[in-house]
């Protein structure tokens, strides 16, 4: 199995949705086609952005706009967006409720994920209920395959513009533990 099974699919999807997004008049209309009208993504590989901490959304979107982070498609969507628009977007999505849409849980995987998350102290920064805070993202209810992809990416190929912390946090964590944590966190 490739390290990031959904990455290619995600890029294709984003590219397909890009045209309608970039032409939209309201900034939220640029986000909705992929991330869902209420910020809860129904699209594999695309993260949910509802209930993410405001500062996290702001900082990440600035880095995407600057060309430091994110897919090519996201960089295109963000091109030319002002700080003011980004702050407004972040405030908007931070207030929307998260609606976890993960499928049926595998009890063994859930338990392994719970233990791994405790062992690696995810809750220390992301808080014990994984709702995130300030610059630290919400993990609870995030799409499972997205969590899996992003953790892989931090572990194996940290993107420029990322702090050194998450790479260090995931250093040496096995694929199986990452898979289990993604399974567990998606269902919090």
């Amino acid at each position: 199995m490739p390290a990031r099974p959904y990455a290619g699919r995600r890029a294709a999807l984003l590219a397909a949705l890009l045209f309608s997004g970039a032409a939209a008049a309201q900034p939220t209309e640029r986000c909705a086609p992929c991330h869902g009208p209420d910020g809860n993504s129904a699209t594999p590989g695309i993260p949910s952005i509802a209930a993410q901490p405001k500062v996290f959304i702001e900082n990440l979107l600035i880095l995407v706009r600057e060309g430091l982070r994110g897919s090519e498609a996201m960089k295109q969507v963000m091109k030319g967006m002002s700080d003011r628009e980004i702050v407004a977007l972040a405030a908007h999505y931070a207030k929307l409720p998260a609606r976890a849409a993960a499928g049926k849980a595998d009890p063994a995987m859930l338990e392994r994920g719970r233990k791994a998350a405790a062992r690696y102290r995810c809750g220390s920064c992301h808080l014990p209920d994984f709702r995130g805070r300030e610059q630290i993202p919400r993990l609870a209810g995030q799409r499972e395959e997205y969590l899996y992809d992003i953790m892989h990416s931090f572990r194996d190929a940290p993107p420029p513009g990322s702090d050194t912390l998450m790479s260090a946090a995931l250093y040496g964590v096995s694929d199986a533990d990452i898979r289990a944590m993604a399974h567990f966190l998606a269902r919090r």
Binding site: I62, G67, Y120, R121, C125, E134, A168, A169, G172, V173
Partner: protein
């Protein structure tokens, strides 16, 4: 915690396929966390990558000694840290995560900022000499010749000559030219606490073209501010103390290099004879040069400047200012200010006094700004960068004569 942490960190840098079979080290900022603090929720504070308009900066909350005044000098430079002034008066400002270097132009009644270069990996180091701007990111060194007169000047890439090591943590830079016209560059320990590989935990100087590298000081953890004593010409520097040893410290240090090659203790010995609990050795503080002053626990001492101007009262001449960006690894926030240090030229009888305060509401445990770096202007005013709000404040003295 052991040497294998360092080996492990190096493996990360080279993306080793075997990495998954090694035990996971804790994240760099968690290394050395004792069992008693295992459940601590202390984490670094969020930076802000967006612009903050002047109208949202509560400048009136700042407090200074009588006769001094603080005003907003420039805004719109998110993440702005160290400042370097060009020969013609432009100010260049480095950043970390946002990856930009700004150029600030003074129009007299107002200042404008533009992004000179972006997409760099933490280009925190900026220095100016002989008409050229030097920019140092973690993995890149660029020189812009004649940039003040030619906004489109293309950089000369000096990266190869400087031979920067691969570790990122604590290796964003503060750089400046010394009286010897050489470029001084710190290489922090790539961890909270560890036995660093040989190319880290040191301060070096280079010829401006990257040749002639010399290590001038060793045994520092993370030194991101330094200056030369106006009378003796000696090199003085701050060093940030380690995390996860509790609220009391170890404290940030102010050090004086009286002889090249001195060793300042990291990771075995902190402050005045505090042995490290994780990295032990016999007589850990033997041969260690002791600090001139302690600058407070976890205070994040950064910008360090001797004041040589004529605007401030005479008692400030040749004293030192240090910006303390403020703590995260402490249950009660500390720092978030600029202090004045009075100390004899040989480093005796240091006295640390708060100078610029008001960024922190100690009762509410909330801060609004984080003073990071200092720049003395030709008229003697002191510029203070606020990394949190992407602004520069100007501190001036009129003795109450005029507003």
């Amino acid at each position: 915690m052991s040497k294998c942490t360092i080996a492990a960190l190096l493996l990360v840098a080279f993306g080793s396929a075997q990495a998954q079979n090694k035990p996971a080290p804790p994240p760099a900022w968690q290394q050395g966390r004792p069992a008693s603090m295992a459940d601590s929720k202390l984490a670094p504070h969020a930076g802000k990558n967006t612009e903050t308009p002047a109208s949202e900066i509560p400048i009136d909350k700042l407090k200074l000694p009588k006769g001094f005044k603080a005003e907003i000098w420039a805004t719109g430079i998110p993440g702005g840290r160290a400042m370097a002034r060009g020969d013609k008066g432009k100010i260049y400002v480095g950043t970390r995560i946002i990856g930009r270097v700004y150029e600030v132009t003074d129009h007299g009644d107002k200042r404008t900022a533009r992004v000179l270069v972006d997409k760099l990996t933490q280009p925190a180091g900026v220095a100016f000499q002989d008409g050229s701007l030097y920019v140092m990111a973690i993995d890149k060194v660029l020189r812009y010749d004649g940039i003040e007169g030619n906004p489109n000047a293309q950089p000369v890439d000096l990266t190869k000559a400087f031979n920067l090591p691969p570790q990122q943590h604590h290796n964003w830079k503060y750089i400046t030219f010394g009286p010897d016209k050489k470029l001084y560059v710190p290489f922090g320990g790539p961890c909270n606490i560890c036995e660093p590989p040989p190319e880290y935990s040191q301060i070096r100087r280079y010829n401006p073209d990257g040749s002639g590298m010399e290590v001038i000081a060793r045994g520092m953890r993370n030194s991101l501010g330094f200056d030369w004593h106006p009378k003796t010409g000696e090199f003085w520097f701050v060093d940030q103390g380690r995390d996860w040893m509790g609220d009391k410290g170890p404290q940030e240090e102010l050090n004086r290099l009286s002889k090249h090659g001195q060793f300042f203790g990291f990771p075995y010995c902190h402050n005045n004879d505090i042995a490290d609990p994780d990295f032990k050795k016999a007589k850990p503080c033997e041969g260690v040069t002791k600090p001139v002053a302690l600058l407070g626990p976890h205070a994040s001492a950064l910008g360090t400047k001797f004041y040589s101007g004529d605007m401030f009262p005479a008692e400030y001449k040749n004293t030192l200012f240090v910006a303390r960006k403020g703590s995260w690894n402490r249950t009660k926030k500390f720092g978030y200010d600029v202090v004045n240090v009075r100390v004899s030229a040989d480093g005796k009888s240091a006295k640390v006094t708060p100078f610029l305060t008001g960024f922190l509401d100690a009762k509410e445990e909330k801060f609004w700004g984080r003073p990071a770096y200092l720049l003395q202007m030709p008229d003697g005013a002191l510029l203070v960068s606020d990394e949190q709000l992407g602004a520069i404040y100007r501190i001036s003295y009129s003795g109450g004569k005029k507003k």
